[in-house]
């Protein structure tokens, strides 16, 4: 049942460029995919390991700025720039993680929020490098691979889709492995994990680095897809938006980040005329969901299918 749904979703995703009437809609879907990749990263650290990294969007920014700067200032092609962007995000993740993971609960969230705000301030104020509030424009598209050119909306859409598919595959493989089950076990009972000989600090750092890798990947894809970049993509409000997508989609689940992002980006788009007032709809929606489906749309769906199967 679940496998069938994934196959249908994949088929629809591949067919979308031929189904939507305007590139405008294609851009919205691709943008949602990019956000979903970042939300998957948030899911690794929050959904699996139970740690709220409020600086998540800053790591997205590190990946995005690294790709944009390496392409525009150093003349690197996209592919090595993307690898370097992911690496930069992971290295910074290792540094921030090795300090912040000494704290717990609210302190971890506050510490990472502070780091995130500081990184966003650097993006805004280091004008010679980042272009300040204007940001970086004219980021070149990826160079062609043989006959495959990537300079149009449709090929870029497929690149983003590929990155999303890779992300989901990574999360699936890790979650069900011994490593992923250890992430979840630590969130469940830290003391028992220690008593079982698990080096909790090391496992948490691994999860943090995997999470920042996905944030960096999302950032790199954002810079590539949009061709321009500003500091407004890296702030605390973006992290909270991603958090909202994760909670509504289903925290800790495999489908949740994608479902939550697509649904909320879709609703946001429909309610565009309401601007900030759209949170008047999101707020109650969130409360109802958390009340009745604590595991979000994906968790609620699993529960319903399990109930049908039991009949």
């Amino acid at each position: 049942m679940r496998r069938v749904l994934w196959i249908i979703a994949a088929a629809v995703a591949v067919a979308i460029p031929f189904l939507v009437p305007k590139t405008f809609y294609l851009q919205i879907v691709a943008g949602a995919y990019i956000t979903a990749i970042a939300v998957y990263g948030l899911n690794v650290i929050l959904g699996y390991t139970g740690l709220l990294n409020l600086g998540h969007a800053a790591f997205f920014g590190i990946g995005a700025y690294a790709v944009a700067l390496l392409e525009t200032k150093a003349g690197w092609p996209f592919w090595p720039a993307l690898l370097a962007g992911c690496a930069a995000s992971v290295v910074l993740g290792a540094m921030v993680g090795s300090v912040s993971l000494r704290t717990r609960g609210n302190y971890f969230a506050i510490f990472t929020a502070a780091v995130g705000v500081m990184i966003a301030i650097v993006f805004t104020n280091w004008q010679e490098l980042t272009g300040g509030n204007i940001g970086i424009v004219n980021i070149p598209p990826p160079p062609s691979i043989g006959p495959l050119a990537f300079d149009g909306d449709v090929p870029k859409y497929y690149l983003v889709l590929g990155a999303l598919a890779l992300t989901i595959l990574i999360c699936r493989l890790v979650r069900h492995s011994l490593v992923g089950r250890t992430f979840v076990a630590i969130a469940d009972n830290e003391d028992l994990a220690r008593a079982a000989g698990i080096d909790v600090a090391r496992v948490r750092l691994t999860a943090f680095m995997l999470s920042t890798f996905l944030a960096g990947l999302a950032g790199g894809m954002f810079a590539m897809y949009n061709g321009n970049l500003g500091p407004d993509q890296t702030g605390l409000d973006i992290t909270f938006e991603q958090l909202l997508y994760l909670v509504i989609g289903g925290i800790g689940t495999i489908a949740g980040p994608l479902v939550g992002t697509l649904v909320l980006v879709g609703i946001s788009h429909e309610l565009q005329g309401m601007q900030q007032y759209r949170f008047l709809i999101f707020g109650p929606l969130l409360v109802l969901l958390v009340r009745f489906f604590p595991l979000g749309i994906a968790g609620g769906f699993s529960r319903l299918t399990a109930r049908w199967a039991a009949r």
Binding site: L173, S177, L178, D188, L192, A195
Partner: protein, 254 residues
């Protein structure tokens, strides 16, 4: 000597929870630690397992000092423990719980998981087998696919022991293994503990139920207000006037 506890002291601010306690646990023994509430029994376990650092004194395991090692390192040396309030990975399956007990023996990392390396596949099988073996040992293999938090209380206590056994330890610390179970189930648990000893595990247990302790233990350490007031065989302990005064006497009033 498997474990040597020497002059171990633990202070929390002005309170001395464990005061200059020394004893040995020889390999293959069942050692019981008894004493009235607040005697420092659980704190002593926390010190041995590295959950709390000792204020003073030394702990030696298999001839090597472990006093200041972090908890997971002590577990890796071969000391497994259970907690007083049954402590499980309650949202995971029973099988995954036992698998975590064995986890430290598997080196699988993120890259192994992503690339499905031969090591990842081999260790997946190994840890699954080790987990099932531990569940069978504890008599709860049929519950393998249930969520740990949803199984009966008595089975949860068995699962806590299965997690410890899956770690393949040399010494198992059991913190009140039969707290809150019926007297009938207590007998079954005593059998399980006896079975562990027969399989070659050295056991150290903290327990309130005197019948269990007297029937099981090879030797007993009695704590009172953090101090060791007696040590000996069950027969010696039940005849010791200081123990009767401090603990057994008090227990008959209760």
């Amino acid at each position: 000597m498997l474990l040597q506890v020497r002059n171990v002291t633990k202070r929390f601010g002005g309170l001395t929870a464990v005061d200059d306690v020394s004893f040995d646990v020889p390999a293959g023994h069942i050692k019981a630690i008894i004493g009235p509430n607040g005697a420092g029994k659980s704190t002593l376990f926390h010190l041995i397992s590295g959950y709390h650092p000792a204020t003073r004194g030394t702990l030696t395991f298999e001839g090597a000092e472990i006093t200041h090692l972090p908890m997971h390192e002590i577990a890796r040396r071969g000391i497994a423990r259970t907690f007083q309030t049954t402590s499980l990975f309650s949202h995971q399956t029973v099988l995954d719980n036992a698998t975590m007990g064995y986890r430290m023996h598997a080196a699988t990392n993120v890259f192994d998981a992503l690339l499905r390396t031969p090591r990842a596949r081999r260790e997946e099988t190994e840890s699954r087998e080790a987990a099932y073996e531990a569940l069978r040992f504890a008599g709860i293999a049929p519950l393998a696919n249930r969520i740990a938090g949803s199984i009966p209380q008595e089975a949860q206590k068995r699962l806590a022991i299965a997690i410890a056994v899956a770690a393949k330890p040399k010494l198992v610390l059991l913190d009140e293994p039969v707290a809150g179970v019926t007297s009938e189930e207590t007998v079954e648990h005593a059998e399980l503990i006896r079975h562990m000893a027969n399989e070659g595990y050295t056991i150290c247990l903290v327990e309130h139920k005197m019948t269990l302790v007297m029937g099981l233990a090879d030797s007993i350490v009695v704590l009172h207000h953090g101090k060791k007031i007696a040590e000996g065989t069950p027969a010696e302990i039940s005849a010791d006037p200081a123990v009767i005064e401090a603990y057994l006497g008090a227990a008959t009033h209760a």
